[in-house]
């Protein structure tokens, strides 16, 4: 074995650099996959809706997901927004997209125990900004329970 190894490259391959690189790649892919999921808050308990149509895998890339937590606080991409700020953001987005602005889909992830008034407030701001494609997100099939 030793003789073989000494003789030349043909005998044994040094695995260490390969394993290093493969591990780096595994860690990179796992971390990026996690980041994608973590754009939404995990503290929101979504309501159950077993009969609703399943969310499409490929959603419109323009989609704005607005989150409303159980205390009625509004978030976009984990950033807390005040009501006036949300209005400003949405109005600006609609203006930036021009003709296509009002058809930007809005998805609302609201906690199941938040009073409707907070959700209503959010929806009203959306409609005020001209956005009309509103949908609620619910859990169709819970895997983790």
């Amino acid at each position: 074995m030793k003789r073989n190894f000494q003789k030349g490259g043909s005998g044994g391959i040094n695995m260490t650099p390969m394993i290093d690189v493969v591990f780096q790649m595994i860690i990179f892919f796992v971390c990026t996959a996690q980041l994608e999921r973590e754009q939404f808050s995990e503290w929101i308990t979504l309501p159950d809706s077993p009969n609703a149509p399943q969310m499409a895998q490929e959603k419109d890339p323009c989609t704005i997901t607005i989150e409303v937590d159980e205390k009625g606080k509004v978030f976009i991409g984990r950033t807390p927004l005040s009501i006036s700020k949300l209005r400003k953001v949405l109005t600006k987005t609609v203006a930036d997209y021009g003709v296509y602005g009002p058809s930007i889909p809005i998805q609302i992830r609201a906690d199941s125990s938040v009073p409707h008034s907070f959700v209503r407030q959010t929806m009203d701001i959306c409609t005020e900004s001209g956005l009309y494609k509103i949908a609620f997100i619910a859990v169709k099939d819970s895997v983790s329970d």
Binding site: P50, Q54, S113, Y132, A135, K140
Partner: protein, 139 residues
């Protein structure tokens, strides 16, 4: 150079081989980390609704009679102005959906009622194939 290296190793190891122990250590650490942080993603559903413009909601006080009017109250539900239980609402929606699924369902949700109840009502509509749903809000 190779000679030097070999001589160096020759002192300690007779056999040059890949030491598996550190690798297995690291792999186990990673495995444990991923098992602990692992959480399966739920299958999500999307409930499309339409929403009247804020000013339109004020002007249109009396909805047309051919709509199904579902009210989500703080406790319980009401359909076409009659308070009903969840089962009754489900049965009535089923009956109405058999006539036509193209009818507009107007869901009026009380400010104080929880979001989960609204979704429950919307879910019932979805289960019977009613897709034309408008959500109004009001006291």
């Amino acid at each position: 150079m190779r000679r030097n290296k070999n001589r160096r190793f020759a002192n300690t190891n007779d056999e040059i081989e890949l030491s598996m122990t550190p690798m297995i250590d690291v792999v186990f650490q990673l495995l444990i980390y991923f098992l602990v942080t692992f959480s399966t993603a739920d299958v999500l559903a999307l409930l499309d609704i339409s929403r009247p413009a804020p000013d339109a909601a004020q002007s249109q006080q009396t909805p047309p009679a051919d709509m199904i009017r579902v009210a989500v109250l703080k406790e319980g539900f009401a359909i076409n102005g009659r308070a009903v239980s969840v089962e009754e609402l489900d049965a009535l929606l089923k009956k109405l959906a058999q006539i036509s699924t193209k009818q507009t369902v107007m869901v009026n949700c009380d400010d104080q009622s929880l979001h989960g109840k609204l979704i429950q009502a919307l879910d019932m509509c979805a289960s019977h194939g009613l897709t034309q749903i408008a959500v109004m809000s009001g006291k």
